[in-house]
């Protein structure tokens, strides 16, 4: 009897400790969101989304150029990175024991842990230094390199979740192996793969370091990937470290927009997953 009371006390104590840990873990996120809303929300208006920057020192202007720039850079990164990442993921899942697959898997795990500035440096060396000018494309290449291992590993894990019985059922119907993989296995895992892609996009959309010395940033509206391009994270960096009060205001607002975009992507990813489970009943 006494023992049971002691157990209950320990159990309750542990639950309290874990609850405190959860609060501590969530606190920074809430503080960041709160600060951003307090300092940035006031600066968000129509002009913020539709106008380009005004000359330094003047008030007003917006970050339309950076929104367009981020869309261009991340879009091009997806065009380069997604086909490679998804294909490599399918390969690693379908031929798990293949030496090439093992090596690729190991390297992808290493790459996921690589600091993004290293990837930026890589893009600088291979693209910027050779072409002798900064470009949005160099930024896209850096982001694509960051996306590939993330997309690859998610794709692989989700394909592995598809029951082997489905694969066998398709093979028993006379499906060739490649067709089983694409039409049955990948198709079944697709909602999960989309989720992984959205999360990877959310992750690289906020990357600053690899863009600093590749896309460089710009004050002008441009869609030219061959020239320096603006991007939301770069605007935050430039404006937050600049000397003008109005810049600081815009930096806060941009940071808020950036985090909202990332949150929306994450929510979209959740919804894509939820839909999958709904259909399974």
């Amino acid at each position: 009897m006494k023992r049971r009371g002691l157990r209950r006390w320990i159990s309750n104590g542990m639950v309290v400790i874990m609850a405190v840990a959860v609060v501590v873990a969530v606190m920074p996120l809430l503080l960041i969101l709160g600060t951003l809303v307090v300092k940035g929300a006031g600066s968000i208006n129509l002009a913020f989304f539709t106008q380009t920057p005004v000359p330094a020192g003047e008030t007003g202007g917006g970050v339309a150029h950076a929104i367009v720039g981020t869309l261009m850079i991340v879009g091009a990164a997806c065009v380069i990175g997604l086909p490679i990442g998804i294909s490599a993921g399918i390969f690693c899942a379908e031929y798990p024991a293949n030496p090439l697959a093992r090596t690729t898997r190991f390297l992808a795990d290493v790459m996921i842990g690589t600091p993004s500035i290293v990837v930026g440096l890589f893009a600088w060396t291979w693209i910027v230094a050779r072409q002798r000018h900064f470009s949005g494309f160099a930024g896209s290449a850096a982001l694509a390199v960051l996306m590939v291992p993330m997309v690859m590993r998610t794709t692989e894990e989700l394909i592995k979740l598809v029951p082997n019985s489905l694969r066998e059922a398709a093979l028993a119907l006379g499906y060739p192996r490649w067709r089983t993989s694409l039409v049955i296995v990948v198709r079944t895992a697709l909602p999960g793969i989309v989720t992984g892609v959205l999360l990877a996009v959310a992750r690289v959309a906020g990357e600053t370091a690899p863009l600093l010395f590749t896309a460089l940033g710009s004050q002008f509206m441009s869609t030219d990937l061959k020239a320096p391009l603006a991007a939301l994270p770069l605007v935050v960096f430039t404006y937050a470290t600049g000397p003008y009060e109005d810049w600081h205001r815009l930096a806060w607002a941009t940071a808020l927009v950036l985090i909202i975009v990332v949150m929306l992507l994450s929510i979209a990813a959740r919804l894509a997953t939820r839909q999958r489970f709904d259909r399974k009943g």
């Binding site: 019985s165 059922a169 499906y175 079944t188 259909r279 009943g281």
Partner: protein, 251 residues
């Protein structure tokens, strides 16, 4: 008329021998049951009949499997084309979750160069009717196959297997995951289907083997112990091990 036969068939997983030197004949338009305790090799034997065994890593065979006197393991036989002639239904219902009921039935047709749309509709209806599922799903062919009950899903899988008009139907414990009522429907179906197909069924359920099959093979530890007409094997087994198994003394 011998339709399907094995000759000195041995099936291995890497170095483990699951089926040892089995020679069997399966005459056409009969139901054959493979029975025996877990691990006796009955599923492996079944999977050699449509060359699914070799899809398991390490799976290989020696000996022959003859389909209409043609060795299906001979060089030049395309296993994909073979599997369109030898359909298979698994223990767990395996409808393709991303496809509608209609597309599930079509799934095996598409690999053979899809027939014309009108013709496809007729094939789907015929396959579903034969699988005794048509009346239950005819109004919702475009809905997800996942919404069906377990028994309906299994009949859908049977419809999917027979839509491409195979010659042989392999059933690997097709009712193991189903309730008694659904089981009964599948058994009735098997009885109907033997008019058109040669059927080989693996089952753990001895009553089921006795009910649906014409001939029965008892396997133990990879060896074929006894093979004969079902009634004879169940009422007057020649082998002591067979008798011990069917009377429930081991297995």
């Amino acid at each position: 008329m011998t339709h399907l036969a094995t000759e000195k068939l041995t099936a291995m997983y890497s170095k483990f021998t699951a089926v040892k030197n089995v020679s069997l004949t399966f005459p056409a338009n009969h139901v054959h049951a493979l029975i025996g305790p877990s691990g006796c090799g009955k599923s492996t034997l079944l999977r050699t009949l449509n060359r699914m065994h070799e899809m398991t890593p390490g799976g290989w065979i020696t000996g022959k499997v003859l389909l209409d006197t043609e060795d299906i393991y001979a060089a030049g036989v395309n296993p994909m084309q073979l599997r369109r002639r030898v359909g298979m239904v698994f223990q767990k219902p395996t409808p393709f979750p991303t496809m509608s009921i209609y597309d599930n039935v079509c799934a095996g047709l598409k690999v053979n160069g899809r027939p014309a749309r009108k013709e496809t509709r007729e094939i789907v209806e015929r396959a579903l009717r034969r699988a005794a599922l048509w009346e239950e799903v005819k109004d919702r062919l475009d809905q997800s196959a996942i919404a069906l009950s377990g028994g309906q899903q299994q009949r859908l899988c049977i419809a999917r297997s027979i839509a491409p008009e195979p010659q042989v139907l392999l059933l690997d414990e097709p009712t193991a995951a189903l309730d008694p009522q659904a089981t009964q429907r599948i058994e009735e179906l098997v009885f109907e289907l033997k008019r058109d197909y040669t059927i080989v069924i693996v089952t753990h359920n001895l009553q089921q083997a006795a009910r649906v099959s014409d001939t029965t093979t008892f396997l133990y530890l990879g060896h074929m112990i006894e093979h004969g007409p079902t009634r004879q094997l169940f009422t007057a087994p020649k082998n002591d091990q067979t008798e011990a198994y069917i009377t429930g003394r081991f297995g």
